[in-house]
Amino acid sequence: MPLMLKALWEYRQFILSSVVREFKGRYRASLLGAFWTVAQPLTLMVIYTVIFGQLMQASLPGHDQTPFAFSIYLCAGVIFWGFHAEVLTRMTSVFMDQSNLMKKTAFPRVCLPAIVTGTALINLVIIFSLYLVFLALIGHWPGAPILAVIPLLILQALLALGLGLLLGTLNVFFRDVGQFVAVILQFWFWLTPIVYTTHIVPDQFLRWLLINPMQPVVAGYQTIFLERSMPAFASLTLPVLVALIALLAGVWVFWRHADELVDEL
């Protein structure tokens, strides 16, 4: 572990410029460039706002008077779920995507997860800034509780990184893992109260919902931006535990098999 951190530090320039290059390169041959970073989650938010917020008259208890209450709620979830899904998906395939580089050059393999996380963070920052502008415009600025985004984001990133490292390493040896992750992410999204609220979930299902480690994290963001108050940190015990276990398992599996990765690509 300390070795990995040392390697990350030594290759920080490479990681940094790879993130920048990746970001620039993603939309190289496109006309609208970074717009596409925003377009996809924006579409999702507009569709859900219209369908759930208007057509289905979804309303949030206690927020009948808040303008755009459902949009605020929905976007908080979609934006940060998007980060989660992006890190997990890209981590699962990162070693295969970069097989050419891995086969021909020697560098600490642990740089690749860092580059994935970095790139996902840039995307998050862009869309999150738009969200903040939206909040400011409608007069729903969260104020001081916004600082709680930082610990939540760190927790979320560690969880995705741990799982991603585990799944990404396994995926090199068992290509089924990549398919599995795509399927699971769909379920996971709908099993997390992002588009709907916990209030509409029948009680007998609610406790099943609560074993989902992403649920308290997403709920945390929703609290910050809708209620404009600090999230209930005590509820994060489960995600913290799961993140730690995932991180340990991920680092362990990666550590044991890092040398073999290139032989399987």
């Binding site: 320039q13 050419n100 891995m102 086969k103 021909k104 050059t105 020697a106 560098f107 040398d259 032989d263």
Partner: protein, 429 residues
Amino acid sequence: MAVIRVNQVGKAYKRYPSQWARAREWILRVPSHEKRWVLRDVTFEVAAGTAVGILGANGAGKSTLLKIISGATSPTEGGALVQGRVAALLELGMGFHPEFTGRQNALMAGQLLGLDVTEVEAAMPEVERFADIGDFIDQPLRTYSSGMQMRLAFSVATAVRPDVLIIDEALSVGDAAFQRKCYQRIEAFREEGTTLLFVSHDIEAVKRLCDEAVFLARGRVASQGPVRKVCDAYERALFGGGRVPVSSTPGQSDVAATSGPRHRFDPALAPSCEQRYGSGEVDIEACWLEAIDGEAINVISAGQRLRWCFTVHFIEAVREPIFSMMLKTRDGEAVFGTDSAFLGQSYGVVAAGQKLQVVFEIETHLAPDQYFLNCGVRRENQGESVFMSRRVDAAILQVSGSEKSSAAVGPADLRGQLAVSTLGQSDGQ
């Protein structure tokens, strides 16, 4: 002082009968794979500033060895230690990304070579100049030809002089002019103290560039030591088809060829690619090379006289048979050929059942290398020439240069001599 220390390196790839077997091994910890060794017991050291060629047939483990030394993959057993900054050009490229431009790829590759951003940026104009690919530098790499990719890769890898330069076959895709430029740069680095590890199928390039060589056969060191000696061993194995001596004690492999007698017989030089054909009236039963004293040989010092002998059994009576011979380079180019008709000899009718011995005596004014010999018996029928028996590549002759050959290029040693004298001085007016 050794910069590269390869100690008992072995590399095995795991082979599973099925994915389920792998899963069983992962979960139940029941070993169910079979190890395929592609490299075993490889030990050698490279002193600072030395150039070492790695030779071997396809699949001998050369690329794997270089990958291990450069750190791209790790050995299954043993270890490889390298001191200093390593620049490696493995199999035509440096892990370039097809969607990024040449410049972006160069910047990234430079960073992975251990340079920091400012160093890479400072080196970029020189990279562009050396690669000489014009506007393509700002085009995505997928639009490059393999030669252009190699130009860029070589330029980046050598933009800043590395302590250790590893080149795997890379130069073979470049055009001749660029190759020369690359060799010049490599030679300049060598003078400044760069250690070189070089894989190429161009044996002449290895001989020219390298001081030492390691010959790998089936993943093991077959021969190592001074470059000439190892190249000879490699060529013998390659063209002679002789069994490769795999030495179990590295560093003590076969005694240098040059220290033996001036001519001798090397059983490993038996040709494996001989072809025989003919219309069948006669049969060349045996052919051999011998020295002037009658001793059978196939290694000779340049300039010595040599006899190319063969025995011909006449199955049918033949009128005016013509005996011929030819000596060729490894590439199959004729160096010298002659026949009895050309030499003005005539034999009349040879009766059925007769056996003749034919001896061509030649002087081997040849550059040190390996040569192939043909022999044949033909007859001429109204201007049509028919081989009754012919043996192509029937023997391999190794010409060794005990005295220094004057041939820098080409197979013939015309015993060139040089004289340069002053003719006086022009005072400019």
